[in-house]
Symmetry: C2
């Protein structure tokens, strides 16, 4: 393979020990980060003047294909939303619809600076196809639900193993597969234990929803005589390969359990607010040493996949919830969306910072905008004033996926048309 | 004056009784709103296909010139932020700096769909100059603070009357001036009573901060033996011409007082969250029949002036605070940012909806974007998924201020440079 170089010169860096300088990319990797401006004989030279280069954002909990259900139903209680709107539509899903929704989500993520995500849904081989084409990095899991039914359980493992076999470590290593037991209240103890055992043997991650709503905590407590994380700890489910999404309702004992087992969390503030699920004690968790990352959840409950917006909401929500403006400062919020996300997925040595030897997953923000003027405090601006639309150029695995807001890996208009048509068909069936 | 027509055809309408059709603008006014597509012989014809036309957004509490202080200091307690960072810089303000900051803010507002705002700050004739040039509609007030000092009080009235004389009802009627007593804890009873009397006689609005922080409520209660709105009611200050910003800390009795006196409120969720001031009981206020509008506050505590973001944060915050996803639904949140804002400024017959005879203050959103696909639920998308950057075209008072995201009234690059230089100079003095 011929070597390909990209040089980003004269740029302000975040997520790097060097604050200003140049970054040299060779093939899929960051080869150099220096305070000097590099030589101009790279294949592609990008002028970083008045721009900020950040590690690609990491969205650690989402359901890409649900983008087709965006705006389908809002302002409703969770059970009405699920029973009357989401589930009837999901009953008619096919691989083709999931592919179209995932492709749409990939375009949205690229355009708002996300290069890595963690997805749980159905027809995940079709999702993998979209991710491969988009050029993004993703961890995919088939959402397993057995509700105690053995036949269902067998089916879920069969599908999960099929997806692992077909998709794990494909697309130049950009796609990994994880186990995706949906939640402690939708999965039997048998399922959870079997996931635990298989994930350990196969060296795969586990992606699960835990304690999103107070009602769910009651359900689990009634069924098992223990709160969700206590129960998961008792059955030996928890370990550093588990990424739990939401974690809104936590006792102090559960925070200890999370910390001791080195479980990573994915905080989803916009979705938790919109569905009125509650406020996760994020600043307390971070103070306790828990690795808290950030996710958007699906577009049906957010209603977008914009991590820049999610970062701002996350920090603002913690401040007002704790009645303390110093909690979750810009620096910590930025880490949640980058290195903490990488760590949650086990990718901390691969992505999440701008460092020599790591994969070239990078996002260039254009700071020449009225809402980012005066250009004096790059990290503050990124957290509190920037928008997803300020993302100018996106590089993932050394490939330019967008440059000057023009997509390179996908045709935006074609994807929008494909998704409109898929949504039209799917929603007409419900 | 020659008649000038703009026709927007084939567009989805929000804030209008007609859901889809065309809008004809003649000079500064909306001349027709119809379900049919209009004739194509207007001077300018805009194709509204896959676009949404909304009344211009109304930002009812901001400090435009503080844009120069964006990102100056974050994640700090209010007193440190003010005493150590904001006030030392403000001590060096001049009319030129305020003009530069206001012009920058105008560019930001136009680019994110705000056509009307309510501003309180200093050197307001310089702010008026910026607003005139930008083509926006604004209510301006000199922020009056006397701290009980009679000399200061006289000075504040002198400046306020100078601004009224010089700026009220200028710029083709786009600029109005209001009285701007800063707050019950920074203004003496004498000042407040004199404002009340003069505003009544002159038929001008009053713009004031009330009950932003719990500490301020304590201060007022200690000083006057009554909570802020009780105190203001007792001294006869409250009436339907008063717009109170923040209103975070309210007793039930105060909510009644606000309602009875027909005081309008400006809710500023992002600033209240960022400074950890608290959560205003907005859904309760709306249920009680209070007119609650929406504001961004200044860019130093937000850190932007993006009303589209503010709407989403407002509704999400109420839902999670009340633990009820049905509160402040999209429809109500949209009204807060449009007609409620118009009403708060006394402009309800002039702007705030798309209706024949009203001023042509209109914003066209481009819905052909991945995060707005599928394009099925325009109001839901505008509240929960759209971004300020989806604003395509902005019309204020019948003038096109931006078309296809290109500014018409101002040169964006020039304004950014002016503001960068002004910030550089100003901040080097502190």
């Amino acid at each position: 393979m011929e070597t390909k170089n990209i040089l980003i010169n004269n740029v302000t860096l975040l997520g790097s020990e060097i604050k200003r300088g140049s970054v040299l990319i060779e093939n899929d990797k960051i080869m150099d980060v220096t305070e000097k401006n590099g030589q101009k004989d790279a294949d592609i030279v990008i002028n970083g003047e008045k721009k900020v280069l950040s590690p690609g954002l990491v969205n650690t909990h989402t359901h890409l294909s649900m983008s087709l259900l965006r705006g389908l139903a809002d302002d409703l209680p969770l059970d009405t939303w699920l029973n009357d709107h989401i589930w009837p539509v999901e009953a008619n899903l096919t691989g083709e619809y999931c592919y179209a929704g995932a492709l749409l989500a990939c375009v949205e993520m690229i355009k708002s600076g996300t290069t890595t995500f963690n997805d749980m849904y159905f027809f995940m081989d079709h999702v993998a196809k979209a991710v491969d084409e988009a050029g993004l990095r993703g961890m995919l899991s088939h959402g397993m639900i057995d509700l105690g039914d053995e036949e269902k359980r067998k089916g879920e493992f069969k599908e999960t193993l099929r997806i692992i076999e077909k998709c794990h470590d494909t697309a130049e290593g950009r796609i990994k597969v994880a186990f995706g037991p949906h939640a402690p209240y939708t999965c039997s103890e048998e399922l959870l234990k079997e996931v635990r055992e298989k994930a350990g043997k196969m060296g795969l991650k586990i992606h699960i929803h835990v304690s999103e709503t107070e009602f769910e905590v009651q359900q689990v407590t009634e069924a098992h005589g223990a709160r969700p994380f206590e129960y998961l700890d008792e059955i030996g489910f928890l370990s550093d390969d588990v990424l739990a999404a939401h974690a809104v309702w936590l006792s102090d004992k559960e925070i200890e359990i999370i910390k001791e087992n080195e479980v990573s969390l994915s905080h989803n503030p916009a979705s938790n607010m919109k569905l009125a699920s509650g406020i996760s004690p994020v600043s307390k968790l971070i103070d306790a040493g828990v690795n808290v990352s950030l996710g958007t959840d699906g577009a049906a409950s957010n209603n977008d996949l914009d991590m820049i917006e999610e970062i701002k909401i996350a920090t603002l929500l913690q401040k007002v919830n704790k009645m303390d403006p110093t909690v979750l400062p810009a620096e910590k919020a930025f880490e949640m969306a980058t290195i903490n996300g990488a760590r949650a997925l086990g990718f901390q040595d691969v992505i999440g910072t701008i460092e020599m030897g790591k994969k070239a997953d990078l996002v260039l923000f254009d700071m020449k905008a009225p809402h980012l003027t005066p250009f004096r405090h790059p990290k503050s601006h990124l957290i509190y004033a920037a928008k997803g639309s300020d993302v100018n150029t996106v590089i993932c695995n050394g490939e330019i996926l967008m440059q000057n807001r023009e997509l390179k890996s996908l045709d935006e208009t074609e994807v929008i048309t494909l998704a409109e048509n898929a949504a039209e068909e799917l929603l007409s069936k419900a």
